[in-house]
């Protein structure tokens, strides 16, 4: 993986958060720390349909070296991984909880994330629940809201750049291999 060392500015495009909310829930440093420190990511609401956004994100994260655990009440397996009905049922340590469920369900997901000792909760684009976010922050978790984990990882790891996108990362330093 290896997140680059360059300075960058917060990308304010494509978010419905106010600048104050962006400072709380889209802080570049927090996003990089979260992606850097996580090894295991539980994806709540991961779909088994290959053209759904969540499936793209899971495929990408797996290829980038993360352990991905699907969470979906339908069970079965997705991308070769056992699907758990909820966070509480996962028999191993989870670092990051990535949420693809409607805002109304986020509060319960956050409760479970706190209960299983996750270090961060991340809600995907346009999934907003400020009360739940504050609850997670109060419990010491990193919180990212209204961002895509694949886009952010791609932004810091070069992939998004190859697609011609504006990463807003500026650095003259040679990264370590």
């Amino acid at each position: 993986m290896g997140l680059g060392s360059g300075a960058s500015c917060a990308i304010s495009l494509n978010t419905v958060l106010t600048p104050e909310q962006q400072a709380l829930y889209q802080d570049t440093g927090c996003i990089r720390d979260t992606l850097d420190q996580a090894k295991t990511i539980a994806i709540v609401g991961l779909s088994s349909e290959r053209q759904k956004a969540s499936y793209f994100v899971a495929t990408y994260l797996k290829r980038e070296g993360y352990r991905v655990i699907p969470v979906n009440p339908r069970g079965g397996t997705i991308l070769g991984e056992t699907v758990y009905p909820d966070l509480k049922s996962i028999p191993e340590k989870v670092d990051l909880v990535d949420v693809f469920r409607p805002a109304g369900e986020v509060s319960d997901i956050v409760d479970q994330a706190i209960a299983i000792g996750a270090k961060a909760v991340w809600t995907q684009l346009r999934i907003l629940n400020f009360e739940a976010a504050e609850k997670a922050r109060a419990a010491g978790l990193n919180v990212v809201m209204d961002k895509c984990v694949k886009m952010e990882h791609g932004r810091f790891c070069g992939g998004l750049h190859w697609a011609g996108m504006n990463t807003e990362i500026i650095s003259a330093r040679r990264p370590r291999r």
Binding site: G154, A163, M165, N166, E168
Partner: protein
């Protein structure tokens, strides 16, 4: 990571650095030229995931290339866009925008003050695809409004119109486009992002002929499409609906604000093939690195030349929005405060009643201005439409296209201003 790393870098810094971090393997400081057609897959599964767009990465240079990616991200950064796709030329870039956005039966409302090649593309080539175009006086907001029909899918204009030098009222047009929930597409070739950034005024998509001032040295043909990332394509069928060429993938749903550019790259560019050469991308990047310095000199030289011509007794009229008596002066001050570019036209007075002959003789008397069909070179360029590009038209037909028989178009370069004025002065004296 502390928040002191959160910094919005200045335009000039981004001209030099945006899109390139030295690579970890070699550490090359200049942008390497990846002159390769294709890229070795890691394994069969990775290959499949790349083709399925699940991973970011390079497959084939017709679709993406690491040198070109530096050019793309740099242009996107300078235009304050969310990303960019580079293409073989400016014409290819705007064609790719229309091919991505439009379907048969759709209509474009376009400014009538456009580059001639664009007019033929819109009027004749897009007609073959059953896409219609309605031209309007770009200065008449009501005309834009009235031309919009239920079939209209976008508005299109040039920041600085070619060759008349009209200035698009970007703020008013983007408000109109917003109210109709259609994108405003602006060609920013003549202004460059140093003089004007249409996205900052609400434009959705920006196109460029990078051949001109972005490259700036007349060496390479190239184009770019930049997306603001701000338009909601959720109800725009071509971007939102399931794609039959990607197993029903919905680009806006899956890629969000990157959806339009992703679709343009992996469908339109993939299928039409108008890719830029990596070496051209490299040369255009070299141009971008000095964009602000060159544009400052381009506009100050253009202003000096325009003032000289405006006072010359053999010149009937100078069409430069930088001059206070231009009808576009106020718009230029608002949208192009550093100067309204370096391409403009002027009309010669007729010699013995023949303005066409005056234009021909004037061009032939110039020493420093190169007589050719391009603009945006570091060198000064000149063309006389009535004896070249428009020579088959009668004086009446020329007038209908607001190209007078004595009209001369200049692209003012970076030479010593006094030398440019000397050259124009001696050529005018020969009339």
């Amino acid at each position: 990571m502390s928040s002191d790393k959160n910094r919005k870098f200045g335009f000039e810094t981004r001209m030099l650095h945006a899109g390139q971090i030295p690579d970890p393997h070699v550490g090359a400081r200049a942008v390497p030229i990846y002159q390769t057609t294709s890229y070795v897959f890691q394994d069969a599964e990775q290959a499949a995931e790349l083709f399925d767009l699940k991973l970011y990465g390079n497959i084939y240079t017709r679709i993406s290339n690491p040198t070109t990616a530096v050019f793309e991200e740099r242009v996107a950064s300078l235009e304050n866009g969310t990303g960019a796709v580079a293409l073989a030329s400016g014409m290819a870039a705007q064609f790719a925008v229309f091919m991505t956005l439009l379907e048969p039966g759709d209509e474009i409302v376009a400014s009538a003050h456009l580059y001639g090649g664009t007019v033929t593309q819109l009027t004749h080539t897009l007609k073959k695809l059953s896409i219609g175009v309605r031209y309007v006086d770009p200065c008449n907001l009501k005309a834009w409004e009235e031309a919009i029909t239920p079939k209209t899918r976008c508005l299109f204009g040039e920041t600085i119109g070619n060759p008349g030098g009209s200035i698009l009222d970007l703020q008013a047009l983007s408000a109109l486009a917003d109210s109709r929930k259609i994108p405003l597409i602006v060609d920013n070739t003549f202004a460059t992002p140093y003089l004007c950034r249409p996205i900052d005024w609400g434009a959705t998509i920006v196109t460029h002929s990078a051949t001109k001032f972005l490259g700036g040295h007349g060496t390479s043909i190239g184009g770019a499409v930049v997306d603001s990332g701000k338009f909601n394509f959720a109800r725009f069928p071509t971007i939102a609906d399931p794609s039959p060429s990607y197993h029903g993938l919905r680009f806006f749903d899956t890629f969000g604000h990157y959806g339009f550019l992703m679709k343009l790259r992996v469908e339109t560019l993939r299928d039409t093939g108008a890719c830029i050469s990596p070496t051209n991308s490299f040369l255009l990047i070299q141009g971008l690195e000095t964009l602000s310095l060159r544009m400052e000199r381009h506009v100050s030289n253009a202003m000096g030349v325009a003032k000289f011509l405006a006072e010359h007794p053999k010149v009937a009229r100078v069409n430069y929005a930088g001059l206070p008596d231009s009808p576009f002066h106020d718009l230029a001050k608002k949208y192009l405060p550093k100067g309204p570019g370096a391409v403009f036209s002027f009309d010669l007075k007729p010699i013995g009643g023949d303005a066409r002959e005056a234009g021909r003789r004037f061009i032939e008397s110039l020493e420093l201005f190169s007589h050719l069909a391009n603009v945006g070179d570091a060198r000064s360029l000149v063309i006389h439409p009535a004896s070249t590009t428009h020579q088959q038209l009668s004086d009446e037909e020329l007038a209908a296209g607001s190209v007078g028989p004595g009209l001369v178009r200049l692209s003012v370069g970076l030479e010593t201003l006094e030398d440019l004025i000397w050259d124009l002065d001696q050529a005018l004296a020969a009339l």
